[in-house]
Symmetry: D2
Amino acid sequence: MKPTRTTLKIGELATGQDLELPIFQFKPDSISGPSVYIQANVHGAEVQGNAVIYQLMRLLENSELLGRITLVPLANPLGINQKSGEFTLGRFDPITGVNWNREYFDHKVDVAAWYVKHSHLADGELIQAYRAMLLEQCQMRLTNEWGVTTGHQQAVMLQQMGHQADIVLDLHTGPKSCKHLYCPEYDAQAAALFSIPYTLLIPNEFGGAMDESIFCPWWQLSEHLKAQGREFAVPVSAFTLELGSQERIDLEDALVDAQGIMAYLSHRGVIGERVAPAKMQRFGCYLKDYKKYHAPIGGMVEYLAQVGQPLEVGQPLANILRLDLYGSDQVLSSLAVTLDCVPILHFASASVYQGTELYKVMTNVFEF
Amino acid sequence: MKPTRTTLKIGELATGQDLELPIFQFKPDSISGPSVYIQANVHGAEVQGNAVIYQLMRLLENSELLGRITLVPLANPLGINQKSGEFTLGRFDPITGVNWNREYFDHKVDVAAWYVKHSHLADGELIQAYRAMLLEQCQMRLTNEWGVTTGHQQAVMLQQMGHQADIVLDLHTGPKSCKHLYCPEYDAQAAALFSIPYTLLIPNEFGGAMDESIFCPWWQLSEHLKAQGREFAVPVSAFTLELGSQERIDLEDALVDAQGIMAYLSHRGVIGERVAPAKMQRFGCYLKDYKKYHAPIGGMVEYLAQVGQPLEVGQPLANILRLDLYGSDQVLSSLAVTLDCVPILHFASASVYQGTELYKVMTNVFEF
Amino acid sequence: MKPTRTTLKIGELATGQDLELPIFQFKPDSISGPSVYIQANVHGAEVQGNAVIYQLMRLLENSELLGRITLVPLANPLGINQKSGEFTLGRFDPITGVNWNREYFDHKVDVAAWYVKHSHLADGELIQAYRAMLLEQCQMRLTNEWGVTTGHQQAVMLQQMGHQADIVLDLHTGPKSCKHLYCPEYDAQAAALFSIPYTLLIPNEFGGAMDESIFCPWWQLSEHLKAQGREFAVPVSAFTLELGSQERIDLEDALVDAQGIMAYLSHRGVIGERVAPAKMQRFGCYLKDYKKYHAPIGGMVEYLAQVGQPLEVGQPLANILRLDLYGSDQVLSSLAVTLDCVPILHFASASVYQGTELYKVMTNVFEF
Amino acid sequence: MKPTRTTLKIGELATGQDLELPIFQFKPDSISGPSVYIQANVHGAEVQGNAVIYQLMRLLENSELLGRITLVPLANPLGINQKSGEFTLGRFDPITGVNWNREYFDHKVDVAAWYVKHSHLADGELIQAYRAMLLEQCQMRLTNEWGVTTGHQQAVMLQQMGHQADIVLDLHTGPKSCKHLYCPEYDAQAAALFSIPYTLLIPNEFGGAMDESIFCPWWQLSEHLKAQGREFAVPVSAFTLELGSQERIDLEDALVDAQGIMAYLSHRGVIGERVAPAKMQRFGCYLKDYKKYHAPIGGMVEYLAQVGQPLEVGQPLANILRLDLYGSDQVLSSLAVTLDCVPILHFASASVYQGTELYKVMTNVFEF
């Protein structure tokens, strides 16, 4: 089965040119499984997700599909096309500085009030009504009489597509990074399915990202119902997959990640065939134990710690070279970790200001 | 009396060069009035505050001083020195995109718990203890074992200086803007003292800005005590002064604003002589009535509405020229306001994406 | 008569999106006058030329046309759509730094060798053959087996359109600037026709700009023929019009410049009616007398000299405020001109590094 | 022997802060060998040269020195400290776009005229007089009454230091690059001494780079004298060393290159001990055979060809993924080389516009 291709206009440039997204959809005739929404490249330099979507679509074309699948590669044309020097300056809106992945709409649903009016509904109807409310809120946001910002418009239009699915995958990468997964705590078992060695378990807090914008309202509903004595599992799944480093296209590695996604889709009943998860060790930590290590001084950085390789207390992270101080013992500073951890990603540039986020490391790591 | 000049290191660049602030202080021998902290140019392109500090220091040199006055011009060296093309790209951290004026520390004081332990103190002691706690929190933030970001370090070091004063003025400008004042609602009478025609009355909500970082913790304390039946006026004042447009130095106009600040300082007893406020009409609105008008389409913009000039419903804000549509009736779109308002500022560039913040306007404007 | 609208693809972005130019053409049935090519906005922030083309097309629609007229507004979509902060970073290729108006092809015609083969041709045939050669060179450049750069491709495609016309107008603006005209010395009489008070007379040297790329090869041919004893006036005219300041759309002022262009076109027989040039004083200087004044120190700049207003020796250009030096006599430096001159433009930002080009001034100015 | 450290001011920022260079000098008491000038990091992201200078100074401290050695790491503080997003935007002046390594002064010596006046001098005196003239020209350039640009001032101050030495090494890197050397044709034997596998032999043409600014005037003198029948070897050596990829500090690899430089210095008699060149195959081509391959379409790039690994005709360089074209056969384009070559460097980002310089390759490669 081939996907259909449509186009969605999500903005206009100063020249009047439309900003458009390509949208690919697999719509099986008979649907028995959940629906899926997958997007990539919301941060302009994080291109590998496109390669994963490419490989995934090739796999899906030869699969038995039980649920509808929508794929949006190249999801941020403004960010993708914005170079500054030789690199893509696609992490934030060039005018406002706002991170493209912090622009999603915060529903701030008054769950208690909403539930008072809808408590009579059975689970299926409840889900339908809640989803309709979320979609309507997005639509109202987009039609605000004072307009909405460029980034918010794009984000909320993506969010609308996400709300229409049961499973949402947002494909990102780190700067120089090993693969890792942002996974909500209620959905921790999913960490064993993708081809991703490290998982961050995240709580029910909205910080502006796509995955949170999808699951937070449902998680709040679920928790409210539980407090009311009604069992109601969160009916949606949403994850951010960080698929290695930015500014890199690797088709072979993309196939590995596409197969990992197939394993997850198989587990969820989106595809008919049985795809087993890759055999690999999988580790994780809670978001509160995910630490940012900031450069204690400015200088030139030799990154020593490899991402994805555990470090023991006292082992070196990086050297900082300060050639202006040659002749003193401060010319070369060795930075060591003060507790056991796993470096997950490091900064992209080899020179830093004091305070630049040098490494992000997992602490209190456990095996799944 | 001449100010003393000292230097504060607030960071290090990649070359190892220190980022330093010049600090000027007037310390009268005998102190009977409140202390003052004034900073300028936290946004790199908003340079006029430096000119105001220049004129103000010249006035203060010939004044009778009753309180200590600290002045920090050029408060963001990294932002000020960062050009991108012919303009200063100084609104946000070039690495992270975070607005330099959203980097201040959110104290999140548990006021109730704190007050339980300190309710026995008289007002003066209470103020002293609370201030010490705020300063200690800042210091702990700066000495975090994982380090702090470049922008946060700078901000919290400025905030520390602010917390040591009774009056804090943060000198900014808009993009293309008339003069306006951000004033907390509890301090509304101050709006009548500066040489500023428009005032925004802001609520007790921390959004990351300097003024809020100073007054919010005290305002919360004041409200908590009031709820406990103890009268306790907010003992600090903090304002953001938006002194016209960015990328502009005008020494004559700077003298006007320096005199406005002198009028405020005179009213507060910081200087001995009586300086009357400028006679002028002053207007304002609540922050909730301060509206952002976003470009409904992309294109080339002719800004028609003058900042600081009231508009009636139906009057034009701007034309958007879309030459790609020449021959259709969409080649020129006239944008009109749908209610009475006063445009306070508009975007700096003459071309916009769909969704660019075109104008900010005051609605429900009242006279002070 | 209405213009036809076509589209020219001049590149592709990373998302695959085409970079396209809108092209408007007036093609009268009967042609007796020269053909014209007009483009605008090759530098992204220099938008006013679009407004001039808008007004000009409206005038042309109601005129008797004797020659073909091609108009290309929004001629650099990549540059126009590239913001960095609130301003358009459209002066140079964001990847390479190359000025978009220095990307045109240098024909480096070996005029002597070419003429040996074509000296038998009458003037009309000679022009036809030379033009064909120039166009073929452009085409060969574009089809280079190793490819061409993004900026060069765009430039050479514009240049091809220019070579097909007898008259070429490239509409630019300065940063903060009065109106001025770049006019080749051989065509000095044209300076009296446009509504532009200041003219720079430029020699026969190719520096990479559009106007030079058009007229230099012909001027070289003319000079070679003159050296051979054959009178041959340069058969093309090409000018760069600098229509005030960047980041500004002013439809009323655009009409003034459109009328100035109509006066020139009338004089050249492109339109049937007689349009008299605006009555105004017009001044100029030779390019060698056009001086760049660089900031002797870094600091905050108060621009004192008005563009377009003559200065006498010793009059002030600008103040530089150095608040870090408050207390010394270097806190405020007044920069004065050391000879009579007319400031034509100044830098766009109010803060400068040492060495920033602060003002450009005409010296040895004469009246036309 | 320890180097002395001094500081040279080469500019001022908008805050008034000085731009300063650290300068390290080894000045042996007794001098019998040539003098050396080495600089690094003129392009802000090309940091590895600093690590090489670090290792080299450590080696020199334990060597017998016969000539004076001056080392300037961190030679472009403005460029090094300028981030745009996570990367260093240090290749060109952020205001003007001019490449920092195209800012050096073009002496344009009228060699014939100069030699007429100095032909009576013996070689040693001739060298002294010519060098004095070059230095004086630089000094006059710097003291131009209209000022000089920020980049030109920095470059010419570096150039002055270079002109005082007999050997000049400018340490750069490519974007993603193998090591290669820019070597003037007259000095081709030097290619066998450094630890660098690929060498570009460059002609006597000034394009604005440091090495050219040093050797071109002397090479012109040498050629003029040869034409006059006087043998006169070019008395200076100047090279640009491209030491791998930008945004990378590797201290171990820096030691390899420092040892390569020691081998060259040993060969030239700057150090007393005999340091043999590394045993390795060395290849090269003429600059005219160094080709830039531009992206024929826009899209996402998978770089397949490894830098430094020879390719045969027909082998693939890269894939370009165009996910917007999924479903057509243009979704993945394989780019192959049309002749035997060695890819030396490729673009840093994984997404490109049409026309982006994708690879630079050596053709007609020969072994030294």
